[in-house]
């Protein structure tokens, strides 16, 4: 029952995401503006530094940015806030009545929503990169980057659920999403490749899960054949999955005792 519910949740939300043409067009337009501007900034910086910055050429950094942005933009940035609101308003309490895992169904729904979006965004980004900089620096690494993008979305959503679970206790996770997103910005390598950070920050970023959400697929798409990134993402997904699951289980027990 649970497995079927998860598959149906994933399939249904993916379908809804696909048929929402207007929403998809707006997302793509916004994404193209972001990657056009940010990658333009980095290309200027690379050219001003003799054609290379921490090993990234203009083409490589453009592919890095279109991939890191696709990984993050395809997931609802305010998801933490939304989950918190659902917990506070009793929606989650109602979901407990279903014969399926609340976290599982929510994850399947959001992953299903994100997959068509990330495919569309990455496709649009590839066109932008090809036009403004050139084709992929190393086509073979794209074979790793594509599944890595899916893992990035899963890691991101699991982390958001783990963080949002604090709403079971404090009833308001409102502004936390802002801080979470900012952590992804820098230590996740969303707007700046981690190699360009100062040593101390770079080492700190290595120990955080955020790099599994943007840096890993972006580094692969930039032409670096580093399969260990893929493994690292799987490890983080395992850890985040356990944390989110434990947090939701504890929160659900609290809801059953205290009420929603």
């Amino acid at each position: 029952m649970t497995r079927r519910a998860l598959v149906e949740a994933l399939r249904g939300s993916a379908h809804r995401s696909l048929v929402d043409g207007g929403g998809m067009v707006v997302s793509i337009a916004f994404y193209v503006v972001i990657v056009g501007t940010l990658s333009g900034l980095w290309r200027v910086a690379v050219h001003a530094n003799g054609g290379e910055l921490a090993g990234y050429s203009a083409v490589a950094i453009t592919w890095y940015i279109i991939t890191s942005e696709a990984a993050i933009v395809s997931v609802n940035a305010r998801h933490i806030e939304d989950i918190g609101a659902d917990i506070a308003q009793g929606t989650v309490a109602v979901e407990l009545l279903r014969p399926a895992s609340v976290l599982g169904v929510r994850m399947a729904t959001e992953v299903g929503r994100g997959l068509p979006k990330v495919a569309a965004l990455w496709g649009a980004g590839a066109v932008v990169a090809a036009v403004v900089a050139g084709g992929p620096p190393r086509s073979a690494t794209l074979l790793l980057a594509a599944p890595s993008l899916v893992l990035a979305i899963i890691a991101n959503l699991l982390a958001q659920h783990a963080v949002a679970a604090i709403a079971f206790w404090i009833r308001d996770a409102g502004s936390v999403w802002f801080l979470y997103l900012k952590a992804v910005f820098i230590t996740g390598g969303m707007i700046i490749p981690l190699e360009l950070l100062p040593d101390g920050v770079q080492h700190a970023a290595m120990l955080m899960p955020f790099r599994a959400m943007a840096y890993a697929p972006a580094r692969l798409a930039a032409g670096y054949w580093e399969p260990m990134l893929f493994v690292e993402q799987l490890v983080w997904i395992g850890i985040l999955g356990v944390v989110a699951s434990a947090a939701f289980s504890a929160g659900e027990r609290r809801l059953q005792v205290v009420g929603g």
Partner: protein, 255 residues
């Protein structure tokens, strides 16, 4: 005018009634702004000077952007919600009042989160941007123009919802403006540069004002004043014409 002043006072009273919440929300936005400043410092520390922009000038740009953004999004919060209000039919309560609808809507709500932008911008200017009296005066003037332009742009793109029936244009305009406004305009060429001065006039919200503080130029000042005036007028006209197409949502309490 008295009615509008009372509206603003009430909006302030609502916000300061919960001082802890106000402080917490302002802090979150200040952390957000700080992260962007960290990014730019890291960027320029790594690449040096680009297109005449360096670490100091980008800090000035960020100070202008966050202060103007704080004023526009904090004090005139509904500027970015006009599209959604038009589509949802949320303007009924406003239209029944004996005050001009647009100023009332703009002043009705204050967003505590964005007051954090305002505080951060002023603080950044005071700490990191060499605030001599002349520069402080220039800062105040260009922020005023920048706020007018940003608010006008948000109202204009939001009011397009009266005609299009969808509010995405306002949200897209809002995000594009804030995103593009954070970049030094001189780093871009061709179509993007033209875009930044025209369709999404982000250059006038941050880069041009920042340059004016560093070095006054009459031509640039006129262009900034002109752009702010044009967008303020265009916004007022679009909103006023749009109201003729407004359809009630029978919502009387939310404006």
């Amino acid at each position: 005018m008295r009615g509008l002043w009372a509206t603003l006072r009430n909006a302030f009273a609502e916000v300061v009634a919960k001082p802890l919440a106000l402080a917490a929300q302002m802090s979150v936005m200040m952390i957000n702004d700080f992260v962007w400043v960290v990014f730019w410092v890291l960027f320029f520390d790594r690449v040096g000077t680009l297109g005449g922009w360096d670490r100091n000038s980008i800090l000035l740009l960020q100070a202008v952007l966050t202060t103007a953004g704080g004023l526009s999004l904090g004090l005139f919060t509904n500027a970015r919600r006009i599209g959604a209000m038009a589509v949802a039919g949320d303007l009924d309560a406003v239209l029944a009042l004996p005050v001009a609808p647009l100023p009332f809507v703009l002043l009705r709500r204050i967003e505590p989160v964005n007051l954090g932008d305002l505080a951060f911008g002023i603080g950044l200017f005071a700490i990191a941007c060499n605030p001599t009296p002349a520069r402080a005066l220039a800062f105040a003037l260009v922020v005023l123009a920048s706020t007018t332009l940003l608010t006008g742009f948000l109202v204009l793109t939001g009011a397009l919802a009266f005609f299009l029936g969808r509010s995405e244009s306002g949200e897209l305009g809002f995000h594009s403006m804030l995103l593009l406004g954070a970049y030094p305009v001189d780093l871009f060429a061709g179509a993007i540069r033209i875009l930044l001065f025209t369709v999404v006039p982000a250059a006038f919200v941050s880069a041009v004002p920042a340059r004016l503080i560093e070095e006054f130029d009459a031509g640039r000042a006129l262009a900034l004043g002109g752009a702010a005036t044009v967008f303020a007028i265009a916004a007022t006209i679009t909103f006023t014409l749009g109201l003729r197409r407004y359809t009630s949502g029978s919502v009387w309490t939310r404006a």
